[in-house]
């Protein structure tokens, strides 16, 4: 086949240009560290890489959210733990005050201390985070959740909202509890019913807080235990206005059972004394402490401490309920912290896996690229050498 002189030249140059183009591509890959420099290099891989990159940055965002969640849950944990130990202290004080050996003055001192602790508890319930948001106000983060009204009652200004954070692609976790759930929605008495002495009782009868022995028989009705004499009593269902037990013999400390519940009265009630058994209602923990302080501050007159004992007994069981509730919430917060921690690990694993896939998809195999570079360099040198050698050949040299 004939070959034209221009063709020989052009072929040599084309070969060199081709080698240079390939070399330059390898050089670009090596200098960027990426196998896929533009989508045209591998359209499918680059579209997938976009999705994976989003997954990686999304996971990083979830990790940031988790840090925020841990911070908030940690703050709540701290406040709850403070409230728990505070209530334990108050409980000890109440037991101390229930001792008949104390004087009125001693009890007033204890009452004052309890009022101090009440203020402390109120401050805990009104805790704020670093950004100035109230922890226990629900959605109303800039409204102080608990305050006292003019008549001394405690009111909640927040709402029942609960904030969630996104900690995984399909996982949200609660990072707050409303003041209602923590401090307000606490059943008083034993959780099912309360026992209370009548304020005008003259005897020394002390009623215990009772228990439910037959839940199936229990009805949420109001009952009154009325002493018809020092040795007999009636039980009246006020809701239906029927006397369900009549002229029962009274023995101090003996069980009194009706309506699936059981209670007992000790001491010597006077004729006409009465005790009320009513279904539990919600009572906030502040009112519980205030009731206790008020009961302790009231001077004992007439020698019998029955009224005081009844009041302190009631407060003790209320405090136990509040403690139980706070422990419940703490347990939930703890569970959430665990969940957050494990989600953090899941996210880390996922991010690592995704980053690995991403790297496989678009990153360069350096050893392969380096040997390719070497090969292409050799090829380019060969092409250049061949060009020079061939160009030197001409018949005119010999004429």
């Amino acid at each position: 086949m004939r070959i034209s002189s221009t063709q020989i030249n052009q072929q040599g140059i084309n070969a060199i240009l081709d080698q240079q183009a390939q070399l330059s591509k390898t050089q670009l890959q090596l200098s960027t560290g990426r196998r896929v420099v533009t989508p045209a290099d591998d359209p499918a891989a680059s579209a997938r890489a976009l999705g994976l990159t989003q997954a990686v940055t999304g996971t990083q965002q979830y990790q940031t959210n988790i840090d925020v969640a841990q911070g908030r849950l940690g703050l709540e944990e701290g406040a709850l733990s403070g409230a728990g130990s505070l209530l334990q202290d108050v409980r000890v004080l109440a037991l101390q005050a229930n001792n008949a050996a104390l004087s009125n003055g001693d009890r007033v001192a204890i009452a004052n201390e309890i009022r101090q602790r009440l203020d402390e508890l109120l401050a805990l319930a009104n805790s704020r985070d670093a950004g100035g948001e109230y922890l226990f106000a629900g959605y109303k983060g800039q409204t102080q959740p608990f305050s006292q009204n003019s008549s001394g009652g405690f009111i909640y200004n927040g709402d029942q909202g609960q904030r969630y954070l996104q900690i995984g692609p399909t996982r949200q976790i609660a990072v707050s509890d409303s003041g209602t759930d923590v401090f307000q929605a606490i059943r008083n008495g034993n959780g099912t019913f309360t026992t209370k002495d009548n304020a005008v009782n003259t005897g020394s009868g002390i009623i215990n807080t009772g228990t439910v022995v037959n839940p199936a028989a229990y009805q949420a009705h109001n009952f009154t235990i009325t002493f018809t004499s020092a040795t007999t009593f009636d039980v009246v269902n006020n809701t239906t206005a029927t006397t369900i037990l009549s002229a029962q013999p009274y023995t101090s400390g003996a069980a009194i059972s009706f309506n699936g519940i059981q209670t007992a009265i000790t001491g010597t009630p006077a004729t006409g004394d009465s005790f009320a058994v009513t279904p539990s209602a919600n009572q906030d923990v502040f009112t519980t402490l205030q009731n206790l302080a008020n009961a302790l501050a009231a001077p004992v007159t007439g020698g019998s401490t029955a009224k005081l004992n009844n009041a302190v007994n009631r407060s003790l069981v209320d405090i136990d309920q509040a403690l139980g509730n706070i422990l419940d919430v703490r347990a939930r917060v703890g569970a959430r912290l665990n969940a957050v921690e494990s989600q953090k690990n899941i996210n880390e694993d996922f991010a690592l896996l995704t980053a690995t896939s991403l790297s496989k998809l678009q990153d360069l195999d350096y050893s392969e690229a380096a040997s390719r570079l070497n090969l292409q360099r050799t090829a380019l040198e060969a092409a250049q050498l061949a060009f020079v050698k061939v160009q030197g050949l001409s018949l005119f040299n010999f004429l």
Binding site: P43, S46, L50, Q54, N65, K140, Q160, S176
Partner: protein
């Protein structure tokens, strides 16, 4: 002796021609398109001399160029295809680089924006977090606009290229027509001898033309060549040439098209032009640029619509219902310049999820059976997607049934005329027109407008969900509604709804929806238990809507619930990437094909210097020998003179 002299001279003359032609070949070794020439020699007519015919020397019968017309036309075709692919590749790779660039692409901005959304969800009352969201939203819209701007620049670049290439084609056509004339003249005056160098020159001009647009050529008997482009538009006929001009698109004056001009008539022929840089530029505009810009617009429009819809269902830090977060422009509707009716067409997007990347054409067809006939055609698959056939006479206003998330209606002082047509581009300007509507960070609606609570006096264990907004436009949305369980608690009464419903049967966990919201009550209520749904006043720490807004990032809200924002963008990138990839591969294949054809042509027509050197030596020797013949003839004559001298 006189014969000998004559024969010697004929050899001298012939070999001179040979030497001249060889020199011509050597001189033109680097001339593009040059075909080597060869002197065809033949014997002169012999002379009868009794005993037989005596040879009478040599003569030059012709000077031929070594030429293969098949290979030349193959080169032409290959050049056109190669030019088209090179042009397509160089444009497409610009878009490719633009979209995929980790700095300039959309992905990072999209991720930053939703990351900032999570930041607001983490701390909804924080002004810095809100400010970051607004800045990142501005960053995102800027990125959309920047990408669109760059695509717009390419669009303008195409317009310029169409203009300059048309001008180049015109001057090449004039050149070919002129050479045609020269060739016809030369053939006439040369008595049919081919003007080799002029033929080569014309081939070069045609090859240059083929680099710009695909051509077909038809040789004429008189030596001229007619050149046709497109669907047989005659660019060069004999010694006359026609011109290509650029003309505005019938719908979009900013979009230039290539038109063929004969005399005073101008016909747009863009659609039939292929090959060459012109074909490549047109192909890029039709296949890559339009769809990339539409896809980007689809994403922007989808983001605006879905994000705004969720934002409207929220409540901002001032306690007001959320307003639009992003702004969007109106759908672009272009009327054909030749429309005669007075109708103005308006298109609105009704469902961003159903939106496609296609453009649409609304036109009024010929009336039939006493009815007017309007059709809406989806241009991507050329399918009529909606028709409207009202009874004649045609009203001034009308509307076709909404389709593909698009509602189209028209009105005007006079009715739409039969034959009028409009181009509707629902997504073309989506990326250009996106903007951030709010500037006050307090107006980010991170909270939900309602909250639920259960009464502290409730004795049952039932709980109420946080609730969700279904329709933020409901006027009664923020009314306080209470749900009170009756005795027995198998039904409940509702107050705060107009009219209050009669007792509703309770089933744990089912949806209870009134006033544009929806809640669930779960568990066992007791008689008298109440639940309240009310306005979320002072709900500054509520992040429910912020969570929902951030959640949009991964939800499949677009393209018929098949793609998230990122998915859609990935599709654009993959589409442009594979077009570029394909163009690159075809370009390389075509390049090597062109190389092969060129080598084949050069093998026939190219000059080889070694061959010419050998010829030079050969003809030089022959010339010397012929000179020797003359010298011999001289010696013979001298011998005769000497013999008769006294």
């Amino acid at each position: 002796m006189a014969d000998l002299l004559n024969i010697g001279v004929s050899g001298l003359l012939a070999f001179q021609r040979n030497l001249a032609t060889t020199s011509h070949n050597i001189s033109n070794v680097n001339t593009p398109g040059y075909s080597r020439q060869r002197v065809e020699l033949g014997t002169r007519p012999p002379q009868f001399a009794g005993a037989g015919y005596l040879g009478n020397g040599v003569q030059v019968s012709s000077v031929q160029r070594v030429y293969d017309s098949f290979l030349t036309s193959q080169i032409r075709t290959s050049t056109s295809t190669n030019g088209q692919l090179q042009s397509l590749y160089s444009y497409a790779s610009q878009v490719d680089n633009l979209l995929a660039d980790s700095q300039s692409g959309l992905s990072p901005a999209l991720q930053d924006f939703f990351g900032a959304g999570q930041g607001v969800a983490d701390d909804p009352a924080s002004m810095p977090a809100r400010q970051v969201l607004l800045s990142n939203a501005a960053g995102l819209t800027d990125r959309f606009q920047y990408l669109n701007q760059r695509l717009g620049d390419l669009r303008n670049g195409i317009n310029t290229q169409l203009q300059t290439t048309s001008t180049e084609i015109n001057s090449l056509a004039q050149g070919i027509a002129k050479i045609n004339k020269d060739i016809v003249d030369a053939l006439g005056s040369g008595g049919g001898a081919a003007p080799n160098d002029l033929l080569d020159k014309r081939d070069i001009l045609i090859a240059q033309l083929a680099e710009r647009v695909a051509v077909t050529t038809i040789p004429q008997d008189d030596g001229a060549v007619n050149v046709f482009i497109g669907n047989g538009q005659s660019l060069v006929v004999g010694t006359a040439s026609n011109t290509l001009v650029t003309a505005p698109n019938a719908f979009d004056p900013a979009r230039l098209e290539v038109a063929f001009k004969t005399g005073t008539t101008t016909v747009i022929i863009s659609d039939s032009l292929t090959g060459g840089t012109l074909g490549g530029a047109l192909q890029f505009r039709n296949q890559v640029l339009d769809s990339a810009q539409n896809s980007l617009g689809q994403l922007a429009t989808g983001l605006v619509n879905t994000f705004n819809a969720q934002h409207l269902e929220g409540q901002d830090l001032n306690g007001a219902l959320g307003a639009a977060f992003f702004t969007a422009g109106a759908v672009q509707v272009l009327a054909r310049s030749s429309n005669t009716g007075g109708a103005t067409v308006t298109a609105t997007i009704t469902d961003a999820n159903a939106l496609t990347v296609s453009d649409y054409r609304l036109q009024r067809n010929a009336d039939s059976g006493g009815n007017a006939n309007y059709t809406l055609t989806r241009l991507s698959d050329n399918t009529v997607v909606a028709t409207y056939t009202p009874v004649l006479p045609a009203a001034l206003t009308g509307t076709v049934p909404a389709v593909d998330g698009l509602a189209v209606s028209w009105t005007g002082a006079t009715a739409m005329a039969v034959g009028d047509s409009f181009l509707i581009q629902p997504t073309r300007n989506g990326a250009r027109d996106i903007g951030v509507a709010i500037s006050d960070p307090r107006k980010i609606a991170a909270a939900a407008p309602i909250r639920t609570s259960k009464s502290l006096n409730n004795l049952g264990s039932a709980t109420i969900s946080a609730g969700e907004v279904l329709n933020s436009a409901d006027a009664a949305l923020l009314n306080t509604v209470t749900i009170t369980f009756n005795n027995p608690p198998t039904t409940f009464a509702v107050t705060g709804v107009a009219p209050n419903p009669s007792p509703v049967t309770y089933t744990s966990g089912t949806n209870i929806a009134y006033n544009g919201w929806q809640i669930q009550v779960t568990g066992t209520p007791q008689a008298g238990d109440t639940f309240t749904i009310q306005q979320n006043t002072n709900g500054v720490s509520d992040n429910r809507n912020a969570l929902l807004l951030s959640g949009l990032q991964t939800q499949l809200t677009l393209a018929g619930s098949s793609a998230s924002y990122q998915d859609l963008y990935g599709q654009v990138v993959a589409q442009v990437g594979s077009t570029t990839h394909q163009a690159d591969i075809s370009r390389q294949a075509q390049e090597s094909l062109l190389g092969q054809v060129t080598a084949a042509r050069d093998a026939v027509s190219g000059v080889n210097l070694d061959e010419e050197a050998a010829d030079l030596v050969r003809f030089q020797q022959a010339y010397q020998a012929a000179a020797q013949v003359i010298s011999s003839s001289n010696s013979l004559f001298d011998a005769l003179l000497n013999a008769v001298r006294r």
